[in-house]
Symmetry: C2
Subunit: 340 residues, 2 copies
DNA sequence: TTGTACGCGTTATCAA
DNA sequence: TTGATAACGCGTACAA
């Protein structure tokens, strides 16, 4: 692809390159009719201003990097959509990388992005200790970073988070209010901040409603459907099936439901299920799954705006924006009326 | 973010910038010990070669654009993963844009990407007539483009496609072999090439197995779960429920299953369901859904490799690579043995 | 209102 | 083995 340059346009018209440049940048004085002539010839020649040369002068890449653990599930895909909505409108391009839940890859991705001179970074971190230190170092060296998702509340820095504690509490209380007595929580890796916060919300509900310790349990299952199916199968085989299950996310909940169906345990008659971070599957599941919607697109957009403020206005005070969710109550957790 | 430049390194050491440059580009002669000195000082200063300046000289952006209809469903997300695997390893960055099934947006995305001087384009087109002409024009102007997915077989140009006809035929034959007599096909927009090809495979199966015309029907439902649910509900209300349903994709199949459950029609006893373009939900559905896996990651990787050959070796002969799938037979289409 | 000339950070050519 | 210098394409003081 051979590109037409500003010189080609200038030569063709017998004007200087500065005039051509001015025709493309409104802020300078230029005779309207020469501008029109230039624009028309430029169009005819198929001239596009070379963004690379412009970036070299302006000392900014107009590239923003975003690192997500994955984007196969719709949550991070939606976050990316929100990020792009804001940034593309401002002339930025978004470089997306996946860490695949692997801390080494997360760090390598950061280096790749920094080698590409991105103007800033949105990181949806795995929240592994060493990497958090690494990010802190980058911030201290002047790299604008906004975190989104699994970042500890105590972390000093700009971040977009979801109020996991509160909504986990709500979801659990919904189960309690439906009259379920024994409630287990299928959690994720205990190290993940998201696991910790949802667990804390669950435990708060237990405390608040004075559920005896013998009636609840926390099981570190994982984040996948396979993990949910396995953990639930083990409970069934140990004959330790509670009346309700609050799962850390929808895939785990769907896996649990599959295991229960295999053993002909009825939902919600025998056991109630609640998921979290609602996926499009929730309303299509059998029975339709109660879950918590997270405003992923809005969170992504918010992260992008916060980052832009840092980059363009040097606004650098750490800021935390907390988002609320929505509990979508469906059949999987609606206790049927026993007798009337 | 103030960047350390090659000059800073040179000044600090009292050497010329050319020496620093040589230290970072193995192909030149340089005394090993000065190279070591330079590298160590560069590291200490936190110097990174500015990729933007490099791109300006090399006359390539090392950016590749990819346009997908969406990446909320996992198919295109996986395609992107395959594309990135190949391209990032070669030092490229991938700019991802969504057309949202909107031809205008597809064209605008292309312009944005071209304005950014991408070295090439991978397009997963909506396959709208005017835009195909537009892409043809770009190709004739020297823009390297590889298409993936919904592109007509007759289109002259490099493309990665899935053998929809063949696998649609297989899936339908699987239903016929299970003994289902009346089979409907929930299709998508009749204009889409994917709709046409899957429909053609379905019809071929009807012809091959001499199914009378009164026993089959093609319904243009759409591509979403809502579309599948609606179309199926209408069939139920018209009391026109077939013995089997071959759906254009998994969301449509899952929507259909939801409608059937609402009316207490049993799957697969009363009706069999087969989906397509398998999603992670297929094995988790109730009952587990028969579907066709498409090798999305491999298709993406293949598109990237084909594009690289065009860009780096000027290899320009239109090439079509066709991928095969896998029919995953599950409970939703397995006719129970009636009496034994 | 327009043109000249410098510089952004790098690579590559030539001379030393 | 090194250093000086001309590009790459553009924006922008400064001069005209």
């Amino acid at each position: 692809m051979k590109h037409v340059t500003i010189k080609d346009v200038a030569r063709k018209l017998g004007v200087s390159i500065s005039s051509v440049s001015r025709a493309f940048n409104d802020k300078y004085d230029i005779k309207p009719e020469t501008k029109a002539r230039i624009l028309s010839v430029a169009d005819e020649l198929g001239y596009r201003p070379n963004p690379i040369a412009k970036k070299l002068i302006k000392q900014q890449s107009l590239n923003i990097g975003i690192i997500v653990p994955e984007f196969i599930n719709d949550f991070y895909a939606r976050v990316i959509i929100g990020v792009q909505q804001v940034l593309i409108a401002k002339g930025y391009q978004v470089l997306i990388m996946q860490s695949d839940e692997n801390p080494d890859l997360e760090r390598n991705n950061t280096k790749t992005l920094l080698d590409n001179f991105v103007d800033g970074l949105i990181v949806c971190p795995i929240n592994e200790h060493d990497n958090i230190l690494y990010f802190k170092k980058q911030i201290s060296q002047g790299v604008p970073i906004v975190f989104l998702g699994r970042i500890s509340a105590g972390f000093i820095g700009s971040k977009i988070i979801f109020d996991d504690y509160k909504w986990s509490l709500f979801a659990t209380e919904h189960l309690i209010n439906q009259g379920y007595q024994t409630i287990y929580h299928l959690s994720g890796d205990p190290q993940f901040s998201v696991s910790k916060k949802r667990k804390a919300g669950f435990l708060k509900a237990m405390e608040k409603h004075k559920i005896p310790e013998s009636n609840y349990k926390i099981i570190a299952a994982g984040l996948t459907a396979e993990a949910g199916e396995l953990a639930t199968t083990q409970l069934i085989q140990k004959e330790d099936v509670p009346e309700a299950l609050f799962c850390i996310n929808d895939p785990v909940a769907l896996g649990a439901m599959k295991a229960l169906r295999t053993y002909h345990i009825n939902i919600p008659q025998d056991i109630a299920i609640v998921g979290c971070t609602e996926t499009p599957m929730a309303p299509l599941a059998y029975p339709p799954l109660t879950s918590i919607t997270q405003p992923a697109v809005e969170m992504g957009a918010s992260a992008a705006e916060l980052l832009l403020r840092q980059i363009e206005h040097g606004f650098n005070t750490p800021q935390t924006i907390t988002f609320d969710g929505l509990l979508n109550i469906r059949e999987s957790s609606t206790r049927p009326i026993v007798n009337s």
